[in-house]
Symmetry: C2
């Protein structure tokens, strides 16, 4: 366990890459751009999945599963989507290998087994799903359809980073069909709110809810709602999107329904998703130069207990004291891990759990046994104190809640300190270079200006905040009138 | 809801295909051989996943995630595996589409974006995982590794059937690494037992545990443990396999560990999996000519309540009576669904839930309200009775247990009636043609005989039962001596 991490101040990007690997979250694989999510990282993702899945079901959605492959022709059906969506995809062209006659023990693609139509490994599933919904929807009685799927998707990214941008990633994608525009719009907003609640309450990451500018909108969407978070290096990260698709996909796939009144209308649609990218946001929001810092809500182990002893006799005494503590914590629903390995020293374990971000560590040695105490160490503040065993369970529960709250508060303060209103392009550039973060500025609403600002500064419009107040002003770039500030930032 | 199904007697295969679609479990997609798992079918699969996942964790396993793609060269590394494993795979050769210059709005594969090495969409993950384990394992301290992943896999089957044989399917695959042969063997057996317990206790399907003959063994395995179930048409279905891989993959990928004693040894391995094929087994074991029959353990809705009324007044009275019933069942952990749709008549709903195999149906109308009763209908026996509302909760809980037990007992009886000891090839053929089922016969242990019997009868050795008694006899085909009977059957 090589603990020493590059510090954030030295090289934030390197710090991140090292942390992901050293904390056993994920690593690169033999396949370019594809990652292996290691058990510890996957356990965090499973926690996230379980909480989100419950939220989706509580809002009336069911899970289903659609094919991994999308025939090329379906991909072409929604024009904006085909045009606008990245074309970097994994393309399946053949369906068989054969023994290579020239090289014993080697395989080659069987040239006779060429597909008539190429299959695209799904980069997202609107096309295959709407091609399916076409057969499911005849009448208003068939609506709404409220489905979600947990799936892997592939986008052939040239520059990849673990969790943040990988060729294959895991996500959920909701795809809903509605009778009315209002209902679809409400759904898109509701799911963006579900995401915001999840990210804030469970991941302890404050987010701004907003809509995307036309340039940043999902290809094929009428409106893209999003949640935007701010990382410790002052760059923004899009943590989730929820698209109001209007009737675009219904028209592309000819999905109409008979209304109650006997008419025939195109169906209204939404889609919404979050991905393993959230793991990147989680890591970058809370962690420090000693390693990962996990909010208790998502930590696979909320508490780890490390026994300290020299002799077998001491070991037995410590084990005897630990046993009721483990049971009491388990009974209270605390995810506790007693690390009783005799292959590693306490110091090694302390370092390991610090690196892995376990929120609370309990150390217990012979002196603690004698005194009826334990040493309780907090990962977020790195503070330690001696706690009476009698008070321990309450103390643990309270401290876990405190940590969850403190992490959110700290991130919120950071964001507040790194959100700056600017009123000129010079100020914009200066703030961006010196301080980073969100820049709140007036914008004339045109894509031309957005592009020009991006070229001048590398910052993009992260969102037009939903709760932004109307305030007339002048575009920082064109000087034209504007009615509302929008949020710019450099982004992941 | 077209209820009328082809009967099993008319055409078992057609009955199955119709049932899967009409009960809203799955359907074919626009992609050859790939299915859409519909919400109702997926809800059953989710129940199965949740129970299995807990069993895996209770036996010390964690989940992880490995890449969808396997570079061709890794696929070649384990020779037996590369030779023996089906080569019908989806092969990714390109990573980009481009706008077709000749056809506006159309896309084509960008010939410049050809991969240097083709990627295979995983048909199974031993190769990519052992290539990863190589970097994780140095010392005995790193062992055992006990991992599982829930994933989609692709095998390019020519003849596909929903759930039973599809190009893409969902499964879990466990991959473990051990210091000793004994430990790995125990693991392989343990997981086969976990599968047997799950299938018998939760799916209510009796299984035979056994090992595969060399011909039916997984390519690359030293021993393949399996569980075999019998379907109502007398054909067997392999419901799960657990492979003891010996050191084959460790040798292929050069995975060695430093022993406690300072030596260097190859690691021992297992892999084990069950898939959405289990859905096929579930359907074919219990269902009847009226539709699906689900064991209560796996039913997404264990109880459905259908209100019966003519006037708004009656509707309100029924709703008022239903409300405490729903609450009481929910509080008891019963998965209850109150179908209060006003778009469909009770008769339609009765048919729908019969087709969908909901174990218990509660009908309640104005007369029931007056009498303090409900009508309780059992899906498995199609019997109905009037039950006092006061006794209902207990009655529901007891009946659900009864159904679970009864389904297993019925399937066990069927299997007993369709397992026949034969002592000659003539008898073998006659039983197979007239009655089907498992045929218990002496076999000389050679692949030649196995092949000859398969050619003569289309039956294969399903397994060599673990609990089979030693009994000397003569091979039904060759007349050579045999020490144990094995189970033959035609199989899915």
């Amino acid at each position: 366990m090589g603990k020493h991490l590059t510090t954030r101040a030295e090289d934030y990007s390197k710090w991140y890459n090292e942390l992901v690997v050293k904390a056993d979250l994920a690593e690169s694989s033999a396949v370019r751009g594809c990652m292996v999510i290691k058990p510890y990282g996957f356990a965090i993702w499973e926690r996230m999945q379980a909480i989100l899945d419950k939220k989706f079901k509580d809002t009336g959605h069911s899970n289903a599963y659609f094919p991994l492959f999308v025939p090329k022709s379906l991909f072409e059906a929604e024009e904006q989507n085909a045009e606008g969506f990245a074309k970097e995809c994994a393309v399946v062209t053949h369906y068989r290998l054969e023994n290579d006659p020239d090289k014993p023990g080697k395989l080659r693609v069987d040239p006779k087994a060429k597909l008539e139509e190429e299959l695209i490994v799904r980069p997202t599933s609107e096309a295959i799903i709407w091609n399916t919904y076409k057969n499911w929807i005849q009448s208003y009685r068939d609506l709404p359809i409220l489905l979600n799927q947990w799936a892997n998707v592939v986008r052939w990214e040239m520059r990849t980073r673990l969790f943040l941008r990988t060729a294959e990633f895991l996500w959920q994608e909701g795809h809903t069909a509605h009778a009315t525009e209002t209902e679809a719009l409400e759904e898109a907003k509701q799911m963006n709110q579900v995401y915001a609640d999840f990210v804030e309450q469970h991941m302890a990451i404050p987010v701004i809810q907003g809509v995307k500018s036309a340039a940043e909108r999902f290809a094929g969407a009428v409106e893209t709602y999003c949640i935007e978070a701010l990382m410790q290096d002052g760059k923004a990260l899009q943590a989730g999107t929820s698209h109001f698709l209007g009737q675009n996909f219904a028209k592309a796939f000819d999905v109409k329904y008979a209304t109650k009144e006997g008419g025939l209308e195109h169906v209204w649609a939404t889609s919404w998703g979050v991905s393993t990218r959230l793991m990147g946001a989680l890591i970058m929001t809370h962690s420090d130069d000693n390693g990962l810092v996990l909010p208790p809500e998502l930590a696979p182990h909320q508490v780890v207990i490390v026994p300290i002893y020299r002799s077998d006799e001491e070991h037995q005494a410590v084990e005897k004291a630990v046993s009721p503590i483990v049971k009491a914590l388990y009974d209270e629903g605390v995810r506790v891990h007693f690390d009783n390995r005799d292959t590693h020293k306490p110091g090694f374990k302390f370092n390991e759990y610090e690196l892995k971000g376990v929120p609370l560590r309990i150390g217990i040695g012979p002196r603690d046994v004698a005194n009826g105490t334990v040493e309780l160490a907090r990962r977020d503040t790195l503070s330690k104190k001696s706690v009476s065993q009698d008070m321990l369970i309450e103390e643990v529960k309270n401290t876990l809640e405190e940590i969850q709250t403190a992490l959110f508060a700290r991130a919120l303060t950071f964001r507040a300190e790194h959100t700056t209103e600017v009123n000129s392009l010079e100020e914009f550039k200066e703030v961006l270079e010196t301080k980073g973060g969100f820049i709140s500025a007036h914008w004339d609403g045109t894509s031309e200006t957005e592009t020009a600002i991006k070229e001048a500064t590398k910052a993009t419009i992260r969102c037009i905040p939903l709760d932004g107040e109307a305030a007339s002003g002048m575009c920082v770039y064109s000087g034209k009138p504007s009615t509302k500030r929008v949020l710019f930032a450099k982004a992941y």
